[in-house]
């Protein structure tokens, strides 16, 4: 009886995990499909990828959507967001893990808000704020927007590194005559570095994939990959080129996840 129950549970779990991957798998497989269909397989082709890279994709619909420009923007926004968030995240994690002060619990709670609150709420308020201070909308307004939620994620990831770290090493360095800054640079930083890198990767992915914050804060004309994908998906036009673009975008995220998992081990 118990054996049977276990078997049912295991089969069910396997089934659910399969379901989680099914849509993604279909998307990837059909980006190599020779015919423009998502149910009929017409043979393997790299045609759609070729079209993407040579700028022939989507031309039948509108010439204004430039895949390369979107890709370039997505990457630089993600890079800059990643670097800024990692730096600010280290400071937060260090302050919270190494000091005791009044109101620390409240501060920690507040730092979870950017993670939990629906993105649409913080996005529209940031847009109103930008308009109010007449901040020019474009790449930088998007970077700042992404950084607001990324800092919290970085803090959470880097903090776990601080938590599992032998403080006596820092004390030993100080006893041996190193000052505070030397201790931080020579001892603390190298030890928590994998955490910082992991935080950077997480932030990079979140920023690279972000749609809502970007849509609100980009202003007209600043294009990223998610915005491009959205524009096409919204029209209900399912094209093999879009599947190819989505697959490429997906492979970036999955590579980053893999690196992240390696670091967290």
């Amino acid at each position: 009886m118990k054996r049977l129950a276990d078997k049912v549970l295991k089969t069910y779990t396997f089934f659910i995990i399969m379901i989680l991957y099914l849509p993604i798998a279909v998307l990837v497989v059909f980006s190599f499909n020779k015919v423009e269909s998502i149910h009929r397989w017409g043979g393997f082709t790299l045609e759609w990828y070729k079209r993407l890279f040579t700028g022939q994709a989507f031309v039948s619909h509108s010439a204004a959507l430039n895949v390369w420009e979107a890709f370039y923007n997505s990457i630089w926004v993600a890079l800059v967001t990643g670097v800024i968030s990692a730096i600010l995240g280290v400071l937060l994690a260090y302050g919270i893990s190494r000091f005791t002060f009044r109101g620390k619990d409240i501060l920690e709670g507040l730092l979870y808000i950017p993670i939990i609150i629906p993105e649409i709420a913080s996005s529209l308020s940031l847009l109103l704020f930008y308009i109010w201070i007449r901040f020019p909308l474009g790449g930088w307004s998007v970077v700042i927007g992404h950084t607001t939620f990324s800092i919290s994620y970085c803090m959470v990831v880097i903090r776990t590194r601080f938590a599992g770290f032998d403080k006596s090493l820092e004390e030993a360095a100080k006893t041996l005559g190193a000052d505070e800054i030397q201790t931080f640079l020579r001892i603390t930083l190298p030890i928590i570095f994998p955490g910082i890198l992991a935080a950077f990767l997480l932030t990079f992915t979140l920023s690279y994939d972000d749609f809502i914050k970007t849509a609100f804060t980009r202003g007209p004309g600043f294009l990223t990959l998610p915005i491009l994908i959205w524009t096409w998906a919204k029209r209900g036009l399912i094209s093999p080129e879009l599947n190819a673009l989505a697959t490429l975008s997906l492979s970036v995220s999955i590579t980053l996840t893999y690196l992240y998992a390696k670091l967290q081990k």
Partner: protein, 297 residues
């Protein structure tokens, strides 16, 4: 008090300030402070050109309340978010439970990785992927229709894309990992000897589950539910891509008012109400998170 100790304490406080102020100032300016602007806009204290005007009016709130179908949209959003949360909990609990208690140590990590990966893949892409399967003759539509027709639950094939059902399928698919993650954490932490004690005392598996496992994993259930519910009430992408006019949610309404160039002031009034509601739910979440239902990435 010892003056040296006092000086150390002071210098420590200074250091702490220096360390925490850059990230905190950033967050205050670009995250916490902007929320007040929504409120200021909703009271009509900003004119068309973005200049501050010294007057307070509630007319945007009254036009918001008088909007056609506004109650329906709010109720529908809460309804969809609740159904999504319940479905995720029912579907996700057995998965988290199986991985945490039945899988061997060797596979546990891999299995959890498999659950976490979709969390890293953009929402937009995952929604687009499910959109392919929900097309009239898409894979999922065919599967569901075949099963339901065979079981005699429906008489003719249903449409899924651009309907409320499509939105629900998309929501559950997108949010399920968010539910499994905290559930897994809390089930994993569960002291297994308590279950054995329950068996020894004569309780059967079902009673043990209801009286021991479920109450002890409650923090995980609450954390998971809020992690699904809160983003779900602000959801915009899923109803926009998978739904039709009958599945218009608060998120879509806000989007229309802000990005399709409608009225920002009414949009702000809607958003203020929405944000206050979300904050209330979030505060409950933070309260429970302190009790051990935290999230890890």
């Amino acid at each position: 008090m010892n003056p040296i100790l006092e000086r150390i304490r002071r210098s420590n406080r200074l250091k702490l300030c220096a360390i925490l102020s850059p990230p905190l100032i950033f967050l205050i300016i670009f995250f916490f402070f902007p929320f007040t602007f929504v409120f200021i806009y909703s009271l009509g204290m900003v004119d068309y050109y973005g200049n501050f005007v010294f007057r307070i009016t509630l007319k945007y709130y009254s036009s918001f309340i008088q909007l056609k179908g506004i109650t329906t949209i709010f109720m529908r959003t809460i309804y969809i978010a609740t159904v999504t949360t319940v479905l995720c909990l029912i579907l996700g609990y057995p998965v988290a439970y199986t991985i945490a208690t039945k899988a061997s140590e060797r596979y546990k990590h891999t299995l959890m990785m498999l659950v976490i990966v979709p969390f890293w893949v953009s929402f937009l892409l995952r929604t687009y992927a499910i959109m392919l399967l929900l097309k009239p003759d898409g894979l999922l539509t065919n599967m569901i229709n075949t099963v339901l027709l065979k079981l005699g639950i429906i008489k003719e094939p249903m449409m899924l894309l651009y309907t409320m059902k499509g939105v629900l399928i998309g929501m559950v698919y997108d949010y399920l990992p968010f539910m499994i993650l905290p559930l897994y954490t809390s089930i994993e932490k569960l002291d297994k000897s308590l279950l054995e004690a329950s068996y020894t005392l004569g309780a059967n598996p079902i009673r043990t589950f209801i009286n021991v496992t479920l109450p002890l994993t409650l923090p995980g259930i609450i954390a998971g539910s809020l992690l699904v519910f809160v983003p779900a009430i602000g959801e915009f992408v899923i109803p926009a891509l998978l739904g039709g006019t009958e599945s218009y949610l608060i998120g879509n309404l806000i989007w229309t008012y802000f990005l399709s160039g409608r009225n920002w002031w009414i949009g702000s009034a809607i958003s203020t109400v929405f944000i206050l509601f979300v904050l209330a739910v979030t505060l409950i979440y933070i309260k429970f998170m302190a009790k051990g239902g935290g999230i890890e990435f």
